[in-house]
Amino acid sequence: MQISFTLNGRPTTVDVEPATLVAELLREQLDLTGTHIGCDTSQCGACVVHLDGLPVKSCTLLVPALDGASLLTIEGLQGAPGSNRMHLMQEAFREHHGLQCGFCTPGMLMTAVALATEKPDLTEADVRHGLEGNICRCTGYQNIVVSVMAGAAAMNAAKGE
């Protein structure tokens, strides 16, 4: 079937089997391999993308759900237009050593941006609860939590500017 949607800000039309998962479409057909597949039970969160601004696990979503929607993947996450910088959340992860092997990182970032967008004054408990669906095996989560709080604060501050 043909599906038209907005992918990282660009109008996109793909010809794809309807039984294809969004994560597979991104990785196999569109060569956007930043969205990772770490499990087969929708537990790990390495595949989180934004569908119409909300975080979803793309390993559990069939491609017809994309029709007419707007999809943001890690490849489309970026700083202020024209700044040629990473997103403030990406900067915060680098600053606070919020990643080690990098495999869970795209999903963590997409979840973190959604959390910070939804609730500007995140507490540590909010962040820990909000990351419940994203598994990291390297960091013990400590620096991820620190990064998300710092990234959220930076996003908040930028909003005021």
Binding site: C39, Q100, F103, N143
Partner: protein
Amino acid sequence: MGNVIGIGAAPKRKEDQRFLTGRGNYVSDIKRPGMTAGVFVRSPHGHAVLRGIDKSAALASPGVIAVLTGDDVADDGLGSLPCGWGITDAKGVPMKEPPFPMLAQDKVRFVGDMVAFVIAETPERANAGAELLKIDYEVLPSVVGVLEAVRPDAPQLFDDVPNNICCDWELGDKAAVESAFKKAAHVAKLSLVNNRLIGNPMEPRAAIAEYEPGTDRFTLWTTSQFPHVVRFLMGALVLNIPQHKLRVVAPDVGGGFGVKQFHYGEEAVITWAAKRVRRPVKWVASRSEGYVSDRHGRDHVTEAELALDETGKFLAFRVNTLANMGGYLSTFGPNIPTNLYGPLLGGVYTTPAIYCNVKVVFTNTVPVDAYRGAGRPEATFVLERIVDVAASEMGIDRVELRRRNMIPKEAYPYQTPVLVQYDSGDPMGCLDGALVAADVKNFGVRKAASASKGKFRGLGYSTYVEACGLAPSRFAGRLGARGGLYESATVRVHPTGQVTVMIGTHNHGQGHETTFAQIVSDKLGVAFENVDIVFGDTDRVQFGMGTYGSRSLVVGGAALSKATDKVIVKGKKIAAHLLEASEADIQFEAGKFSVAGTDRIKTFEEIAGAAYVPHNYPLEVLEPGLEEQAYYDPVNFTYPGGCHIAEVEVDPETGTVTLVNYTAVDDVGTVINPMIVEGQLHGGIVQGVGQALFENAVYDEGSGQLLSGSLMDYCMPRADHLPMMKVATHSTLCTHTPMGVKGCGEVGTIGSPAAVINAVVDALSHLGVTHVDMPATPNRIWRLLQNASLPVAAE
């Protein structure tokens, strides 16, 4: 021009940019022209005779290209998967080493054992073809637990391995221990289980293989922690591919923790298949497939006894362990519960006599091998638990009992009775630091506050040491290693003075691209941004043993340090010529070669330029170019250690254990990048906390089915399970590594399980609880509390 960023600084990581922006290059991201897809068909039975496989329907299925089975492996005369260690029993008899075929022949021995490989145009076609294979199994009873496996009537995995015992291994002076026990004022006894774990790196294993007929060369991309070792084991011992015709690439790898430091059958099958079908073949494991094929960790059943005199001095320690090997011997399998376990039973104490017996046992489970810490967490758990048991039984404070037996700082180097000699350490200093950092003196206030909410609060200690930096080759060879354990590094200085390092270790999260660049920047005075680290490709890197056992900085960093020193030595010769001075008068500091006592200087860049444009150059005595290589073989292990203090709160209504505080003060030697070291400690601690509170691989006895076969059933630590940890270092310098480093990759995982369980037992001690097996799940604790709350404690 960037800056020199040296040892002790905490620059942000070089590797982060690609990972943060989704531009990593993991094996599953790679596509090759004409690529096919392969799926493994695995045994659904724990134990069965393989009577026959009918391929015809599968081969007729649309898109299926080939179906390979054990018969094809035999027809091609291929080898079985080699074990890298050969241990012996007390009489010198070698371990039983049955063949581990890459595709099962005659019999399957665990759920997940590989039976066939189906190659098709797409993964969907391959899966459809796999469904059509007709496999005739004669199902046999399975045995999954070690206690059951050694019973005389247990199912036998191999005809020539009686009682399923691979090796009856021992270490230490049995007679000295027996005589010490006779003199003991008190003997503490403890029976425990060290639970079976599944490593779960977030990236599932994957591989792609390609054969180029024009050059007769193979390339294997694989999720490996040690590509050169895979090339050697697979090329030389399994597939008979000459080393120069085989390239193994381990690109970005999404976590390892030991799971990816073995040569797996999947790698060999795919490489072999790529030549048979003359097209690239790709396989990516699902998480569930990983659960029944990634090597598992731990799985011990242990009886321990500690003999003490009337003052609490340890006189002797005796440990008897049954260690599960699973269905076959994996690459390091038999080494883990023996050589990496027994020698650590001395811990940080002056125990004069130690004896350890380990029966290494085959069962119908996934092969067991190294998982972060590998043997050392098991040893630490036994020792640190029994110290608490002894303290409680003798009425001596737990910290005080540890102090009475601790090796004082001034007693180093310290020879233990179990082979190893600790070069340096200060366990008392770590303990003192941790007591302050954990605010132990106000624990009573916190306990009372918990009690007022109806919760039980407990504090647990683990003062521990481990052995890192695998390994001195000669020593390892005596213990049964079938390879060397050195490391290599090449420092290539470009004509413009930038540096590329080729190193044999493998970075899969540890931050090597940053840490190693700091070492070079520090030593050569080159800007941090002008140093790149290359690893993970046998065509680009000379040789290497890879990353495991906290060896990368200790052994690889030492090789890098040596190679860098050689660059300086050559640079001085070039500078002496250019500055018309004696080589002995040339000094090198902060990136400048100078004649001592003068202002005559050549920069590092000028020397590099002269080396590659040798117009004015001592060609008669010196070769052009500036590139040096070093191999480093350590003279001893390193011995990081420290003190961990866990604080838990138990809810008696639900049995839930909450980790409320965690403090670690660790001695990791010289710290190159404190940000990265802290990250390693955090991650390591949480893996140990996972073992203590959440994780458990469970098999069904009889059927051999893995009951914890997915992330829905195997509980991984999540962000909301954990508090903010306090970690700090209290370092003494290693006396034999070039930079004084000891390694930090595994300390967290080694120290933490005992600290957490000691805290749980402490929280419940008023109810008569003296031990809790891992994981301390709500179910287990609630049951314990139901029994304990009877008028007379039932257990």
